[in-house]
């Protein structure tokens, strides 16, 4: 597996994005000597868990990213600091969150382009909100139209649309709502020019080793049946299928998913 620069793990809420993203970081760590970072986009990572898993986190706080960017454009860090202190700008960033999204994404891409040895895995927001993030360059391109900013926005879009640099994992769980949302998301990502997508079925009870060939109580039997029905009726061919692991320790869970990722990707 030749690693990409940026991995985006997304899908409907509750499909297991965090555990899978952490496992992907571990899997990449074992495959390459590069620095693999875990990032939660606009939320704070569970640092305690990351420490236990020996995973490095990287954050791009919006205030700092913006000050740095404006400073570069104006050729002065001091003026940038002064500008960002103005309550007017704070209020503006609050009321237009997608502006912040774009700046965070821009800073991340900039870091990746400058550091050959860095890889970032984003534990991304769920479907609706990741589209807001990924459509922000397009929207602000329309807003700014010309000028220095537009060049930077194009650089961002080129990066995001490169299949060699970016890989997006769309996670599904075997329920009608999650799989439908996954299909819609893949279609909309395609319209934003993002096509290097891995369609992943996560948390499949019918793939659990304890479930196979056992006499199950009615409710589990029913659960397994409806999982299979969903997949059949929506005619999905998943690139990767991960079983439901029953374990209350997140560390054990991450390790098991990591192992599964490595065996699946070797195929």
């Amino acid at each position: 597996m030749s690693p990409k620069k940026l991995y985006i793990v997304t899908g409907k809420g509750g499909v297991g994005k965090t555990m899978t993203a952490l496992a992907l970081v571990k899997a990449l760590q074992s495959q390459t000597s590069k620095n693999v970072y875990y990032n939660c986009f606009d939320t704070t990572p569970d640092k305690e868990l990351c420490k236990k898993l020996d995973i490095k986190t990287i954050e791009f706080p919006i205030q700092e990213s913006t000050t740095e960017y404006i400073g570069r454009k104006l050729g002065s860090k001091n003026i940038a600091k002064w500008v960002m202190k103005a309550p007017f700008f704070k209020a503006l960033f609050n009321i237009v969150p997608s502006l912040g999204n774009m700046i965070t994404l821009g800073h991340m891409i900039d870091t990746l382009q400058n550091e050959d040895d860095d890889i970032i895995v984003i534990d991304a927001p769920s479907s609706g909100h990741i589209l807001t993030v990924l459509e922000s360059p397009k929207n602000f391109n329309q807003i700014f139209r010309t000028g220095a900013l537009v060049k930077d926005i194009h650089r961002m879009t080129d990066f995001m649309q490169s299949d060699d640099l970016v890989e997006t994992w769309v996670l599904n769980i075997p329920t009608e709502l999650a799989v439908t949302e996954g299909r819609e998301l893949i279609e909309k990502l395609g319209k934003s020019g993002i096509s290097n997508i891995k369609d992943v079925l996560n948390n499949a009870l019918f793939k659990n080793e304890l479930i196979a060939n056992e006499e199950l109580p009615e409710f589990l039997d029913r659960k397994v049946t409806i999982e299979k029905e969903v997949i059949k009726s929506l005619d999905s061919n998943f690139d990767l299928v991960f079983p439901m692991y029953i374990d209350k320790s997140p560390i054990q869970l991450v390790k098991r998913i990591e192992k599964k990722i490595l065996t699946e990707l070797k195929k």
């Binding site: 939320t43 454009k73 500008v83 969150p97 807003i143 700014f144 819609e184 029953i246």
Partner: protein, 336 residues
Amino acid sequence: MKNKKIEVFCGTGGVGKTTISASRALYLSSQKRKVLLITIDPAKRLKQVLGLEDSATGEITKIETSNFNLSDSGELHALLLSPEKTLNRILGGKTENNIISTLSKPYGGMNEIMAVLEVQHQLNKNEYDTIVLDTPPGKHFIDFLESSKKIQSFFDKNFSEVFNFIGKRNKPGRILTKLVSSGIDKLLTYLEKVTGKGFVNDFLEAIHILYDHRDVFINGLHLEKDLMNVDFSNWFLVTSADQLKGSDAKELIEASNRFMHKDNYLLINKSWHKFLEEWTTDKQSLVQLRDKLLEQENVIKESTSQYSIQQIEFPEIFENSPAKQVKELISHWKSL
């Protein structure tokens, strides 16, 4: 459970907020109430749950409650939030301003702010006995709650001088040269250096347009107070018994503490507890499986036991079709 003007369903992603809130709205309408169900989540699963078309987005749509085996019920209307339509209503028509029209597109990022204004608008109309609100997941729920604060700071007194100055006497384009007081001229000069002149003009025009309608925005600030009023709202923090949502539930309870009052409920959804307790088996591997599942189920109870919040448990519904799930959930509300 007391009847209130508004019921709010919030929680992290995938816990079943949309399905649960739809069932609650249908249940309330079966109690002869006139109900409006609003969803704010841009992913809009509500259309799948209630069988709505994409074209229904932004329009209040009447739901046939007979499709959910309810007869002789009150009325249920549903609204999938469209930031664009909300904004156009506020501004009294489509705006030509490039910035405003781009940002109010479906994924432009203005969802949470527009949601506050839409909910307030529907409350002002006073046509419904209850409004049921399906909020966006996780962090974005907090964004929604804090929208009032954001609106307030945007229209803050500190700016009114600037806005008045930009006001009617000045046509966009000539403003820059005229702004000499309050330091904002300097700010805009820097902004222009980074973004170009076209943007700064659009930007000032956008602010001007918004400021002209500031009354509507300021009116939206009432919602925050109403949501904290125990006579006005019921809160449901939805969490799910599957997949280790324990720490999420904890975070949610703590984050929403300052907004809530005594009529709030922790709703543990998709619980297998009942099924697992009833399951008897002698086979060693299955005993092991059951115990592991029970252990996992208990994570959520253990991590929320320290809070005094009232708990309601909903069993997982083993049905594929969202509509069938909703039907079962309605009867669960009835049995509470």
